[in-house]
């Protein structure tokens, strides 16, 4: 089970980030989650949005360099130890995590985690065994 993530190339320059978020806001595209990987020269802005196709075409029309990746979206109960369980499952399952980031939903009961791994289905199964549910793309728009 996986959800769609958009990555955008951002130059380490003042204003590059705002330009991207402004562009999406103008098109009424909601940002569900956002994270930035930074290097000395450039950054990669990773986004989970309400309308992925629209966001991709809008960004491309603005000459942004984008790529789409299937990632795992994990729903966590907002309580102590929830994240620790996920980390434990991943480590015991010998899963190599490229990166992860968390975001909040609209209710205080749940938090969400985005995982970039190489086998999304395997990770979803391992987590489900521990009672941790992964979300579908459909659910992303309902968060």
């Amino acid at each position: 089970m996986s959800i769609r993530q958009i990555s955008v190339f951002v130059e380490n320059k003042k204003g590059s980030l705002v330009e991207i978020t402004d562009t999406l806001a103008k098109e009424n595209i909601d940002l569900r989650a956002m994270s930035i990987a930074d290097t000395q020269d450039f950054g990669i802005l990773r986004l989970i949005v309400s309308d992925t196709d629209k966001a991709l075409s809008v960004l491309r029309s603005k000459n942004c360099i984008v790529t789409e990746t299937a990632v795992v979206g994990v729903r966590l109960r907002n309580e102590p130890g929830a994240l620790a369980t996920v980390v434990k499952v991943l480590s015991e399952g010998d899963i190599n995590v490229e990166y992860m980031y968390a975001f909040n939903g609209s209710t205080p009961h749940h938090a969400y985690l985005v995982l970039r791994v190489n086998d999304n289905d395997k990770v979803s199964e391992l987590l489900l065994k521990e009672g941790i549910k992964c979300i579908t793309q459909q659910q992303v728009s309902e968060i």
């Binding site: 990555s7 450039f42 970039r116």
Partner: protein, 439 residues
């Protein structure tokens, strides 16, 4: 088909005859500029020279160079060697950077130009029966008028189509029966592609040859144009400062351009030291005009890097041949003692899947030259993980190092962030020059 010549006697003269003509004309020209062009006289005096010191081609190297900046410094008429009442035509070139330059022609200058353009036309097999379709721009740019004058002098039928309106170009090619096409190689490609799009079979046209110049092109382009238009494509070289098109011209052999040595003396120099280097070695091409009356520039540095071939040519012409310019000496950088051309970097970028939009920054840090290449990111090379991007970047750096012989730092930048300019892009920023460290 028998080789055609416009002025066979001189085009096939012995090397001794050519040398004698050059000696005599050089001596005369040096006297002319010394008497009539103040800046030339001053420079010769500064170099401790009088016209008597120049007795022939072997003394040419003693004379100071002329560079494009001189034409700007003495703009507009400061380097003219005749009073303006004798000037019958002006042409100008804006270049890609800086102030425009202007050159003048006397009636005799135009006559010489017509002759050398006629030589070019004959060399591609044209005669008075041909229809010469000139799609170079007519105007201050020398392309249109240059070939036009040659066609007229030859007695062929000149068709002054000028550039643009490709549909009309095609109609004229069809209706007027053009046999020789003169334009830039990229426009020839465009015309060829337009024919294809319109479903016009090039074999249905009367076109047999094309004379293409005024911009760099490759052998691959020559093959493509020959196929697209079903013609033989010939190279021509020239520059406004020396005359315009046809300073040198390709013959039936399509193997380098014969320099009109009875009007221009060609030298090859080391662009850094200005030293003359032997024929056959790569260097900056330098021309001296020996028959011009209005703008007889002495040792004009073209900034074009090329090589002079003195081997006899199967066409029977005895003028030396120059290669197609392989780059601009302005573009050549010396970094940590190694010669680097932007074109090399471009080749690597394309090969590795990056866009050819790049900018090169050269600097000197702690007495060591640094080379930074900014490259615009594209979707093919982008990934959601830093490690993938870095891996590609390292591969690119390794490839650059292996081709250039020195290491370069690559910086990936946003698309469209490198400035575009009409014509040639400014590819290099050499910060060492700002420090006055290097000329």
């Amino acid at each position: 088909m028998a080789e055609k010549y416009w002025q066979k006697e001189i085009e096939t003269a012995s090397r001794e005859e050519i040398k004698a003509i050059q000696d005599e004309r050089l001596v005369k020209t040096v006297k002319h500029v010394f008497q009539n062009v103040e800046p030339y006289r001053k420079r010769m005096e500064e170099a401790g020279l009088t016209p008597d010191d120049i007795r022939g081609v072997e003394d040419l190297h003693k004379l100071p160079f002329t560079v494009k900046q001189d034409l700007r410094d003495y703009y507009p008429y400061g380097l003219f060697a005749v009073p303006t009442k004798d000037v019958v035509r002006l042409h100008a070139s804006s270049g890609t950077t800086g102030k425009q330059i202007v050159v003048g022609y006397t009636r005799n200058d135009l006559d010489v130009w017509d002759d050398i353009a006629a030589r070019q036309l004959c060399a591609v097999g044209a005669d008075e029966n041909d229809f010469v379709h000139v799609s170079y721009g007519y105007g201050l740019f020398t392309g249109g008028f240059g070939l036009h004058g040659g066609a007229t002098k030859l007695g062929a039928t000149a068709i002054p189509v000028s550039s643009g309106n490709t549909d009309r170009q095609v109609t004229i090619l069809q209706d007027f029966g053009s046999t020789v096409l003169c334009c830039t190689p990229s426009y020839a490609m465009y015309i060829g592609e337009t024919l294809k799009k319109k479903g016009v079979d090039p074999k249905s046209l009367s076109l047999k040859a094309g004379i293409f110049g005024a911009e760099p092109w490759t052998e691959e382009m020559r093959q493509q144009i020959q196929e697209l238009l079903d013609i033989k494509a010939y190279d021509v070289y020239g520059l406004t400062e020396i005359m315009g098109p046809c300073v040198s011209y390709e013959c039936s052999q399509q193997a380098g351009m014969h320099v009109n040595e009875d009007h221009f003396i060609i030298e090859t120099i080391n662009p850094d030291t200005g030293e003359v280097i032997p024929n056959g070695e790569v260097g900056e091409l330098v021309f001296t005009c020996i028959t011009k009356e209005c703008c007889p520039f002495i040792r004009y540095r073209t900034r074009d890097i090329g090589v002079v071939n003195t081997e006899p040519c199967a066409c029977g012409r005895t003028f030396v041949r120059m290669s197609k310019p392989m780059g601009r000496s302005d573009d050549m950088m010396i970094i940590r003692g190694v010669n680097v051309f932007p074109s090399q970097i471009e080749t690597v970028l394309l090969k590795m899947g990056y866009s050819p939009n790049y900018k090169i920054y050269v600097d000197r840090v702690n007495n060591t030259d640094t080379l930074d290449v900014h490259v615009e990111m594209n979707e093919d090379m982008f990934s959601d993980t830093v490690s993938d991007i870095k891996k590609n970047e390292e591969k690119l750096e390794a490839e650059l190092r292996s081709l250039l012989g020195i290491s370069a730092n690559v910086k990936l930048v946003a698309p469209n962030s490198i400035e575009r300019s009409m014509g040639k892009a400014v590819r290099v920023e050499d910060k060492r020059k700002l420090l006055g460290g290097k000329k």
